[in-house]
């Protein structure tokens, strides 16, 4: 392992908690890549990220930046966008950029930040009066103010509308194109799929699967998902090739033999009028690995 950021055997337990929030987690993030930490709420994503950021001290384990244990100087090389951040009241975006810029030995110019984060008309506005998407852009600019090597984005698009979310993805891609390493946490699987070179699925404080999204899916699945409304589904007497799952009002048939499965359904008397066929996603993978929904 020779990543720009590495964690070995991280443990963290909060006082009064019955179980470890993070137990024995190790990972390595390649330079210039986007690394995604996925998992449901309470899986230990944020705790893990905050330890990697140096904000939270692990109970055990070590974190290395370019091979050396992280210390105070690490803060100068990282940029962080927290899940929820309040900013000082009554200061404009421009003033906040200048304030945060002054806290670092070197900084990106205002013009550069405006270009990178599309801040044009936002500079002289009060961050509290911005829309969700605008606010995230301003917070991203604050995370980039010191031209960091590693950028942490903790659920940056939670609560944004689809268009704002896609705009944010474009910003994240352009940051990566500048050679930055991104560590992203999210519970949106399409976001992870769109941005990440590598993902780690976290559950109960452990990584349960890790790799490039496509590689992971190929490794755990072959085939597709056939979805039918529950009312249209009739179980064929001879069975179907693959696995049948009931998810709410939808029946899912996980199979690698599409034609055989469709034959069997037709034979059994299921109506195929509302049938959908889709590829397996990270969400399916999470469900298959843990038996739990990602967003529960």
């Amino acid at each position: 392992m020779s990543g720009v950021l590495e964690a070995r055997g991280l443990f963290k337990r909060y006082s009064k908690a019955a179980a470890d929030a993070v137990c024995g987690l190790s990972l390595s993030v390649r330079e210039g890549s986007c690394f995604g930490l996925l998992g449901p709420n309470g899986a230990g994503k944020t705790t893990t990220v905050e330890m990697l950021e140096g904000i939270l001290k692990p109970d055990a384990g070590e974190i290395f930046y370019r091979g050396a244990p992280i210390g105070p100087a690490f803060r100068e090389r990282t940029g962080i966008q927290f899940q929820d951040t309040a900013l000082q009241d009554h200061l404009t975006v421009r003033e906040l950029l200048n304030l945060f810029g002054a806290l670092y030995p070197s900084r990106l110019s205002e013009a550069e930040l405006v270009r990178l984060c599309d801040l044009g008309e936002l500079l002289d506005r009060d961050p509290q009066k911005l829309s969700g998407g605008q606010r995230q852009r301003a917070l991203l600019a604050l995370a980039l103010v010191n031209d960091p090597d590693v950028v942490f984005l903790d659920e940056p698009t939670t609560g944004l509308d689809p268009q704002a979310r896609r705009n944010f993805w474009d910003l994240a891609r352009s940051i990566k194109a500048r050679g930055k390493t991104i560590l992203l946490t999210t519970h949106y699987m399409e976001e992870a799929y769109a941005l990440c070179d590598e993902v780690a699925i976290v559950d109960r404080g452990r990584i349960i699967a890790q790799g490039a999204p496509d590689t992971l899916l190929k490794k755990h699945f072959d085939g597709v998902v056939i979805e039918l409304p529950k009312a249209d589904f009739q179980a064929p007497t001879g069975g179907v090739p693959g696995e049948v799952l009931e998810r709410g009002e939808t029946m899912e048939l996980l199979t690698s033999e599409v034609e055989g499965a469709l034959e069997a359904l037709k034979r059994g008397g299921s109506s195929l009028a509302h049938l959908r066929v889709r590829p397996r996603t990270l969400e399916d993978l999470f469900l298959a690995l843990t038996g739990r929904e990602l967003r529960e």
Partner: protein
């Protein structure tokens, strides 16, 4: 180091100056208090007669000593006692013995009355010797203004810094700053200096603004007064920081700040003098920074004291400031 400090300091000052509501309140409230008190007490001076006694109170003539509505205050220092008499803070000064000596202020009507009482009781036989002093009276408002300004400073320092810091911890502003190279000591110093500038600015406006209408009698130097108030407010701000060093709940912070400010408001001599107060109360009062601030400021205002006269109070304030800041910075948490 200095750059980070300045960035935080300037940011904090802008925040405050743009918060119109808070700014207006910080300026108006002390004016209301000073003028309200000046009006409320404009005619009523204390309605007991104050008798300074050089020596043992028990050695006074028995009849005079038993007179109702006289308050006897023992003094060791003749000069200090005569100073008080000069400014009408004592109505008469008596030295028991034979001959019995007493001093009155020729400009004081109350002094005239107490003198009649003294001579009319049983002092006549002690061949009393009369001496006089002269001087303008120090009104209650001249005496009170140091306490009022100090009290206002206390609220601004404790709540302005303490409460604000806890709010910033709760909503994550501090956590965001923790993610930068900013150090706790730089951040905290900027908070202290920012609030100090604000408090002294408000002090200057309120003091000189009220002085314009009320014509305070200030016997000591204005510079000394400013220095004392600056040190006192630094001490109170540090106390606010100490309270807010780790607390994450605004309710708890508010409770602790109230628990600190209310006893100080009533027991540190804002409203009445601690002279002649029970020893236990005086001891308790001496533990409060506000007591030392008020005592020192009041001595400059009404007794013409210099910094060296009030040095013990200043040492206590400086010591408390250092202690509060050190413990506050040591125990400080960003989240």
């Amino acid at each position: 180091m200095m750059r980070r400090f300045w960035a935080i300091l300037i940011g904090r000052n802008k925040e405050f100056l743009r918060d119109r509501g808070a700014m207006g309140w910080n300026l108006l409230f002390p004016f209301f208090v000073v003028f309200g008190m000046a009006f409320a007490f404009s005619d009523k001076r204390q309605d007991v007669f104050k008798v300074g006694v050089m020596g043992e109170v028990s050695a006074l003539p028995v009849g005079f000593g038993a007179t109702k509505h006289l308050k006897f205050v023992p003094f060791d220092d003749a000069a200090a006692a005569q100073g008080k008499l000069r400014h009408h803070q004592l109505d008469i000064l008596v030295r028991p013995g034979k001959p019995l000596m007493y001093w009155v202020n020729e400009n004081s009507p109350k002094g005239y009355l107490v003198e009649k009482i003294l001579l009319g009781a049983d002092a006549g036989g002690l061949s009393p010797v009369r001496k006089t002093v002269e001087g303008r009276p120090i009104r209650y408002v001249d005496w009170l203004v140091s306490g009022l300004l100090s009290m206002n400073m206390m609220f601004s320092a404790l709540f302005g810094v303490g409460y604000n810091l806890v709010r910033y911890r709760k909503n994550g502003v501090l956590k965001r700053l923790k993610a930068t190279p900013l150090r706790a000591v730089e951040f905290l110093t900027a908070q202290v200096v920012s609030r100090l500038i604000l408090i002294m600015g408000v002090f200057a406006v309120v003091y000189h603004g009220s002085d314009f209408f009320l014509h305070f009698q200030r016997l000591g130097s204005l510079l000394d007064l400013y220095l004392i108030f600056a040190l006192g407010s630094a001490c109170l701000i540090s106390l606010g920081l100490l309270v807010a060093a780790r607390v994450t709940s605004e309710e708890l912070a508010g409770g602790v700040l109230n628990m600190l400010s209310w006893p100080m408001m009533f027991l540190s001599g804002v409203w009445f003098s601690l002279e002649g107060a029970p020893k236990a109360l005086r001891l308790f009062a001496d533990m409060m920074p506000l007591t030392h601030l008020i005592d020192a400021a009041r001595a400059v205002m009404t007794e013409g004291a210099t910094l060296s006269h009030v040095a013990p109070h200043l040492y206590v304030l400086a010591g408390m400031t250092a202690l509060f800041l050190a413990v506050g910075a040591w125990t400080f948490r960003w989240d």
